[in-house]
């Protein structure tokens, strides 16, 4: 009995590390709430979820890529290109499902190319997707030009980003659905296990009879499609499609959320649920500083410091 008990407690200690981020999140929430009571109003809290939805969707979908030991730097331009694709589909008078599919297809396609090159040619993902960042941005600019494309009088499309359902923005439902789906996939499907296995020891996973290349390709497709979905939501929220959306730095925000959630950039174990924690952590920090009207310089310094402190706590507990 005592052995089992000991082991169970050991397990709890092991799981404390990820909780440190949650604790840190709770602490900063309290700090913000005390310094600005408006922070805790339901309106602002809903606002936070709405604000992080786009990065959040991309981050949950990026988690698998990072777990396999890869990375996808091309999500920013994919977001722009999928918005444009949807816009053009709208212009062509397509029905809404086709419009959305058009956007998603663009992202999945870019992901497919990324995945095929990474998996079959075994080139370093960071360079492949950096190259793809450049290629997709160029393509978006050629397709869309530098001008904004206004999306007018498309109530159905606009509903995706700006509509509300039962008092909550519709984009939140999409975010929640994607997050739940990805958590399910990670925890309850072979794919979820396989992704971690590949990141941990690709060779061993291959020798265990798994389709490594296929899986790797698939995770990039998921990531691309996630970025595309984010692009559709964004274009719907801002009523425009623009080739320069998802500017440089977007990919770093997304990766930051994943890594903050405890997934190692070198691959291996990771968790979509903890990625969400990372997403909210960054979202709350941003929101809190905005609401306190912290000047940008202090904002950046504080953000860096908060991330360091939160992670240092997590590392200490582990």
């Amino acid at each position: 009995m005592n052995v089992a008990g000991m082991l169970r407690r050991d397990g709890i200690a092991q799981h404390l590390a990820p909780n440190a981020l949650a604790i840190a999140l709770a602490i900063i929430v309290v700090v913000f709430a005390v310094s600005e009571p408006a922070f805790l109003t339901s309106g602002n809290l809903i606002g936070i979820v709405r604000q992080v939805a786009i990065i959040g969707i991309m981050a949950t979908c990026m988690t698998f890529v990072i777990m396999t030991g890869g990375v996808d730097l091309s999500v920013g331009p994919v977001l722009a290109l999928s918005g444009l694709a949807s816009y053009f589909a709208l212009q062509a008078g397509m029905p809404l499902p086709v419009v959305i599919l058009a956007g998603l297809a663009v992202g999945a396609l870019v992901g497919l190319v990324n995945g095929l090159i990474v998996a079959f040619l075994q080139l370093p993902p960071i360079i492949v997707t950096l190259a793809m960042l450049s290629i997709v941005r160029g393509t978006a600019l050629i397709v869309g030009g530098p001008e904004q494309h206004l999306i007018r009088n498309e109530p159905a499309y606009s509903f995706i980003g700006t509509g509300t359902l039962m008092g909550l923005p519709f984009s939140i439902y999409i975010f929640a659905a994607v997050a739940l789906l990805m958590i399910l996939v990670q925890r309850r499907t072979p794919l979820g296990l396989l992704v971690a296995a590949i990141g941990d020891n690709e060779r061993a996973a291959y020798l265990s009879g798994h389709r490594i290349r296929l899986t790797k390709t698939l995770v990039y497709v998921i990531c691309g499609a996630g970025a595309a979905l984010a692009g559709i939501i964004q274009s719907s929220q801002v009523h425009t499609a623009l080739a320069t959306y998802g500017p440089f730095g977007t990919e770093l925000d997304v990766i930051a959320a994943v890594v903050l959630g405890g997934t190692s950039i070198m691959g291996g174990n990771g968790s979509v649920a903890r990625t969400l924690l990372g997403v909210f952590f960054l979202g709350v920090v941003n929101n809190g500083m905005n609401i306190l009207n912290v000047p940008i310089d202090i904002q950046l310094i504080a953000k860096g410091a908060i991330i360091v402190v939160a992670l240092a706590l997590a590392a200490r507990r582990a």
Partner: protein, 505 residues
């Protein structure tokens, strides 16, 4: 016992991980010129003890002394400076760096401004190679060497230190008999020079061959110390694993042999060859038999069996499974033909070190735990528990990360992963490296059970004792050729040794 003052001494050492006491209250001494065996079953805490002595691990309790002087804890450099060298159980090499740089890792001789004196480094290394009769290309990146060669680099690394104490944690894992003999010669030479040696091995023959004294550990405690001359094998085994398992272990060799098993040919290889590696290999593997391939290190057994499984390709010859030509191009198709493959290097090719035991055990059988598109964690956990029980993985915790298991327990997980598939053809490459006697007996028993159920089993092993124990038939490989096959009952160990050495000159 030796009357000299101990050169290295640990007092009251303890180490707990979470709530697991990996080591408790261990007093341990090594004297100059003493070869002390440290034995115990997997997870007994041997490596933990060694690592505390080298400073690799910070003990929770206790002190370490060198020649009566308190030594710093958890400081590898400090211990190296005090003359403590170690051959660790698992590879501790920088794979991309050359053999030469690895041997002198962190200690390259330098000239002014920290510039490495490469000439001197190479001279010293060549001298070292000559002295210990080891042949290795100093400029190859270590990562491109076979596992056994890497082990030799580890050994060289420790020898290069000119230490006062050398701690050897399973130095002979993967080594073939001839290399083991060479290492033993080295050990004796070091001993003659007054170097204190700690020698960990699961092969009791080795203990009786080179060690003066023995320390036996069990469940994190030192349970006995003795002169080797004053103790016998059964006693050692009993002290290590307890009475019940000891009976099983000694019974292992007494099983019946089934050459050619049921007589049905499962796998038939004709004239297999891979350019420049092996060639002309023909054999039949029958259902219900254990066929052991033995040979010197580098005789290409590993390379051969990899092509059988599909992780490599052979380029000439034919392979038939169940009488039909089999075109095996990948592990998947190998598995589709009912083949299972336990690779040689558990860390490089076998395990996901940062995943837990249950997940590792399920890695080759994910399709069985599938419920529609979903994965049943429950079914995985059940299968995991069963395997843990069968193989007596210690601690019996499916949630433990494999990295945190002792070496032998890691190996059990690796074997368990493939046994779980109940493959019709099971290929195991050095399946019991680092596995203790008790668990070895269990693995053998499991192999026999699988054999009894009609599986065809191919074991690659350099451990002749193992070969003689477990094999129904024995194949001998020399330089990429299968030079002889025997029914195990009809051949002596001496003859096999002759054949193994025969091809090389």
């Amino acid at each position: 016992m030796n009357a000299d003052a101990p050169v290295l001494r640990g007092v009251g050492l303890g180490k707990t991980y979470g709530n697991l006491a990996a080591l408790a209250d261990a007093d341990f001494t090594v004297r100059p010129g003493e070869v002390r065996a440290l034995i115990g079953s997997n997870g007994a805490g041997k490596s933990t003890l060694i690592k505390i002595l080298t400073g690799a691990v910070l003990p929770t309790r206790g002190t370490v002394e060198i020649e009566g002087q308190a030594a710093p804890l958890g400081d590898p450099l400090g211990m190296i400076r005090r003359g403590v060298a170690c051959i660790y159980q698992h590879s501790n090499l920088a794979p991309a760096m050359s053999v030469l740089d690895n041997i002198y890792l962190g200690r390259q001789p330098t000239r002014a401004l920290g510039i490495v004196d490469t000439g001197r480094q190479r001279r010293e290394a060549l001298d070292l190679l000559a002295r210990h009769d080891i042949d290795i290309d100093l400029d190859r990146p270590v990562g491109s060497l076979p596992t056994v060669k890497q082990k030799e680099v580890e050994i060289l690394k420790a020898l290069a230190l000119d230490a006062r104490v050398i701690l050897m944690d399973e130095p002979t894992g993967w080594l073939a008999a001839a290399d083991v003999a060479r290492l033993h010669a080295t050990v004796r030479a070091l001993k003659a020079r007054g170097v204190g040696i700690v020698y960990i091995s699961h092969v009791l023959d080795e203990i009786f061959a080179v060690c003066d004294t023995v320390t036996i550990m069990r469940d994190g405690r030192i349970v006995a110390e003795s002169d080797v001359a004053a103790i016998d094998r059964p006693t050692v085994v009993r002290l290590m694993v307890g009475d019940k398992l000891a009976g099983e272990a000694s019974g292992a060799a007494l099983q019946q042999r089934h050459p050619r098993g049921t007589g049905v040919v499962r796998m038939s290889a004709r004239d297999l060859g891979k350019r420049g590696v092996f060639g002309g290999v023909s054999f039949d593997l029958h259902a219900g038999e254990i066929f052991c391939l033995t040979g010197l290190i580098g005789s290409k057994r590993t390379e051969l069996v990899r092509t059988l499984f599909g992780s490599d390709r052979f380029d000439t010859g034919t392979l038939e499974i169940d009488g039909r030509p089999a075109d095996i191009r990948s592990p998947q198709s190998g598995m589709a033909h009912g083949i299972g493959f336990v690779p040689e290097d558990r860390h490089r090719e076998g395990l996901m070190l940062d995943m837990n035991v249950t997940e590792n055990l399920a890695m080759a059988t994910l399709d069985r735990h599938r419920r529609g598109p979903l994965l049943s964690r429950g079914s995985m956990a059940r299968a995991g528990r069963q395997a843990i029980d069968e193989l007596s993985v210690r601690p019996p915790d499916g949630g433990k990360l494999v990295r945190l298991l002792s070496g032998g327990n890691q190996q059990k997980v690796l074997v368990g992963k493939w046994l779980g598939r109940n493959p019709r053809i099971l290929i195991l490459d050095e399946p019991t490296v680092g596995v203790d006697v008790g668990a070895k007996a269990e693995i053998y028993a499991i192999l026999r059970r699988a054999r009894g159920e009609g599986a065809a089993i191919l074991v690659v092993s350099s451990d002749l004792e193992e070969v003689m124990t477990v094999a129904d038939r024995i194949g001998v490989m020399v330089s990429g050729r299968l030079v002889a096959t025997h029914d195990a009952g009809a051949v002596t160990q001496e003859q096999i040794v002759r054949e193994i050495g025969g091809g090389t000159a």
